[in-house]
């Protein structure tokens, strides 16, 4: 089983990036979450291969896409933050501690610009969403 999980709030500008990518890919089992909650661990429990797409704030130019092999590397906590008490980076690290990660976990981060409620997605992020969705559709 392989699953693509898009995380994001569709009402908060560039924060919708992961949500949007997941909405366009049909070649994977797709889940869309508004927050990277603890439910992620249950969501991927039957999957071997998992991709997460989420907006990030790392200081890179807006629209930059990074690919992290989360089985090999830790997620930079500050980049994948959340207004919730348990963001996606914390959930991945908790799952790692409890040996509940899938066999393969790739995390794509799309650098966000504006994430305020009611704002539109910036052009650079929209372009990144288009390109990443096409790439993952064929993956």
């Amino acid at each position: 089983m392989r699953r693509l999980i898009g995380i994001g709030n569709p009402d908060r500008g560039d924060d919708a990036a992961g949500w949007e990518v997941a909405g366009r890919v049909t070649s994977w089992d797709v889940s869309r979450l508004t927050a990277g909650s603890l439910s992620l661990i249950d969501l991927w429990q039957d999957d071997d291969e998992v991709i997460i797409v989420d907006a990030m704030k790392s200081g890179a130019p807006v629209g930059t896409v990074v690919r992290i092999d989360a089985i090999c590397d830790r997620l930079p906590h500050g980049a994948f933050s959340s207004t919730h008490a348990f963001g996606p980076a914390a959930v991945v690290e908790l799952a790692r501690t409890m040996a509940r990660l899938p066999r393969s976990l790739i995390v794509y981060g799309i650098e966000a610009g504006q994430v305020e409620h009611g704002t539109p997605m910036t052009a650079a992020v929209a372009t990144a969403v288009d390109q990443l969705a096409l790439e993952l559709q064929d993956a």
């Binding site: 927050a35 909650s37 439910s39 249950d42 919730h84 008490a85 914390a90 409890m98 305020e116």
Partner: protein, 435 residues
């Protein structure tokens, strides 16, 4: 005496929902300035409810919070039904209670195990705690999943449920769908009882403060979906009277309005208040679990709120089993509600405490005014009063220890800052370089 003055500042409080900060200025043994600072931007839900059809309120307000959407939905439907002069009982009300218990199990488990327990066990987070206590954290994940499953079965999905409507539900779950929850609920009840013993064994700071507790009260049950608003000083009012007895005020350091008792002051809502005012109405296993660890209604040490939350998980599991045992699907699953040119008030007990809604609806069934008062807004003043008293007598502590304990004191309230903005950084400011 500048050497006696210091500041402690936490710019971003961890392990709370949303974005907030705390600033503390200490002069000698005195706290000269203290701010529980909610800086998450205001979200204007009350403003954009205006002009919407009354039936949209439960779905719109559910989006306020990913942890306690059922609370928003329940207070909203209560208010709309109140505006129509209706009270809905029977199996529809029982389904609402079951859905709400799912939210209590999910939210309380997250806070007890993943957010608050690390404070007592001196772990920086649940991740490090999981390395030493994998079975404990594994149980927490399983309990939380059960809460989410109940919300999915009754509410349509685990976050922001879609099956709730004014008057009832769009679809009533079948008996077999609820029966399928029983085995896991029986496991959860046993695990929840063990959780009470686990958390009651933590070391609690020696701290007591007389609080004005406020909660819903129901004559026949531990109130959750509805009831009268009562307090430890004798207030006993219908939710329609909320505006006569409470008020919201703005303070410059918070994007959340502070709620006060008119002519009184701050008050405390949440599990501690419910236990103090309604504790004898808990389910038999919850009462026994509380009694076994010496927890009796009237406990005033807010650090023991973690034990009360654990007791409420027991209550939620046991009562859910009873509801499922007696369940008959309501047919139809909703009653028609037509509020016109009326004002409705609704209240329910969110995991964090009393949640009050008021809506004014015109003759076209359009919302013309809305007021939403979340529990964290109501607890802000009580949180600040706890912090102020806690520091007094502990100014000898170094900044790191003091900051840790103060953050723990804030987490006693399980604040949901996203809800209240309608968030947290901690600054303790003292100029004494020795500390």
């Amino acid at each position: 005496m500048p050497s006696d003055r210091r500041e402690i500042a936490v710019d971003y409080l961890a392990r709370v929902e949303g974005e907030g900060a705390m600033y503390l200025k200490i002069d000698g043994d005195e706290v000269t300035d203290l701010q529980f600072n909610i800086f998450e931007p205001p979200r204007f839900y009350e403003a954009f409810l205006r002009g919407r059809y009354f039936g949209e309120a439960p779905d719109i307000t559910a989006r306020i919070c990913g942890i306690c959407p059922v609370a928003y939905q329940t207070s909203a439907v209560n208010a709309m039904e109140n505006a129509a002069g209706m009270f809905i009982g029977g199996q529809i009300r029982e389904l609402r209670r079951l859905l709400y218990f799912g939210e209590w199990i999910e939210s309380h488990t997250l806070h007890v195990y993943m957010l608050h327990a690390p404070d007592f066990l001196r772990y920086p987070s649940a991740i490090e705690m999981a390395a030493d206590l994998p079975d404990v954290v594994g149980n927490a994940l399983r309990l939380k999943k059960l809460g989410n499953t109940i919300m999915t079965v009754v509410g349509g999905r685990e976050i922001h449920p879609i099956n709730v409507r004014v008057g009832g539900f769009y679809r009533a779950p079948t008996k077999p769908e609820l029966q399928a929850l029983v085995e896991e609920l029986e496991w959860a009840l046993e695990t929840a009882v063990a959780t009470v013993s686990l958390v009651a064994g933590f070391d609690f700071p020696d701290f007591d403060r007389e609080h004005e507790f406020v909660a819903l009260h129901h004559p026949d049950e531990y109130a959750i979906t509805d009831g009268r608003i009562v307090s430890s000083s004798g207030l006993d009012i219908d939710p329609t009277e909320w505006p006569d007895h409470f008020e919201e005020t703005h303070v410059e350091w918070s994007n959340a309005l502070h709620a006060n008792i008119k002519g009184g002051g701050g008050y405390y809502v949440g599990p501690m208040a419910r236990f103090a005012l309604n504790g004898e109405q808990l389910s038999p296993s919850a009462l026994a679990a509380a009694s076994s660890v010496g927890l009796v209604p009237g406990v005033t040490n807010p650090f023991k709120s973690i034990v009360v939350r654990a007791v409420e998980i027991v209550h939620a599991c046991e009562t859910s089993l009873k509801i499922i045992e007696a369940y008959e699907p309501p047919d139809p699953p909703f009653l028609t509600v037509e509020p016109r040119s009326a004002t409705g008030h609704g209240a329910s007990e969110a995991p964090r405490g009393l949640l009050y809604h008021r809506y004014e609806i015109d003759e076209s069934e359009i919302i013309v005014d809305a007021q939403i008062v979340p529990p964290t807004s109501q607890n802000q003043r009580s949180i600040e009063e706890d912090l102020r008293k806690y520091v007094t007598g502990r100014t000898h502590l170094d900044d790191e220890t003091l900051q840790w304990q103060l953050e723990q004191a804030i987490r006693n309230y399980d604040p949901c800052i996203s809800c209240a903005t309608h968030f947290l950084d901690l600054t303790v400011d003292r100029t004494d370089p020795q500390r």
